[in-house]
Symmetry: C2
Subunit: 118 residues, 2 copies
DNA sequence: TCCATATTTAACAACTTAGTTAAATACAGA
DNA sequence: TCTGTATTTAACTAAGTTGTTAAATATGGA
């Protein structure tokens, strides 16, 4: 599977996103990560495997614990991909903005399209 | 399924990302969208359904054609979610940057390692 | 009305995913 | 070496995804 698909696929699960959110405030062991979830340890272990293979986390061994930490670089490609589409939602916002402005008693009429500044 | 999962799940397929890329340069009918793919029309139709349900595209009817267009707003939540993690990859870059600076006392001509684009 | 074009729905197969429990493995310390 | 704690792997099931072909539906025009 291509890298982008693997990343988005890994992010498409609420449990995995919750794991990432936890790791955003610091590294943790598998047991610590699993604790808040109403799910067996093997299930969490597999979510961690998916995140690792997607490059979103990295793991190190400390005695009998496996410490997991966020791997920022793993987000970059997906974030860059998304960034390309930013203009579309900003443009949409501008359209709404323009619409609201045109609703206000202002004589400016016509089909012009506002562009947001970068 | 929650909205974020639905969005990321929709993006986790190269065919669907290719469809979005095409729509980024303008709206198109189902037939036009399907044309470049080595895949049956019903298969493309289903990808479009997934994208529609994820809110990433919107459709309108014109005679017997269904016109599809990018729906920027649909990207926003996922992009915002990603944005939260930006500091992690930027921080990682900064760490590398700092490491390289500390490793090379005098940034002279003989560069030992290429720097990634800023 | 009937036909051609555009698209979706139905029915199906192959494959993947996400969870379960039970067993296996890894390591630290008595 | 034996034991307890931490974690992964195996085997299995249920459900979901992606593709196929055939049939159904929608629309405009002769």
């Amino acid at each position: 599977m291509d890298q982008l698909s693997q990343t988005f696929s890994a992010l498409a699960d609420p449990t995995r996103r919750a794991i990432l959110a936890k790791l955003a405030s610091g590294a943790a062991t598998v047991g610590e990560i699993a604790e808040p979830f109403d799910m067996s340890l093997p299930a969490v272990s597999r979510h961690l495997k998916v995140l690792t293979e997607a490059g979103l986390i990295e793991r190190s061994t400390e005695a009998q614990w496996r410490r997991c930490a966020l791997r920022g670089e793993g987000f970059r490609a997906a974030a860059d991909w998304m960034e390309f589409y930013r203009r579309f939602w900003e443009q949409q916002f501008d359209r709404l903005d323009a619409f609201l402005k045109s609703t206000v008693p202002t004589p400016a009429k016509g089909k012009r399209r506002a562009r947001r500044k970068p």
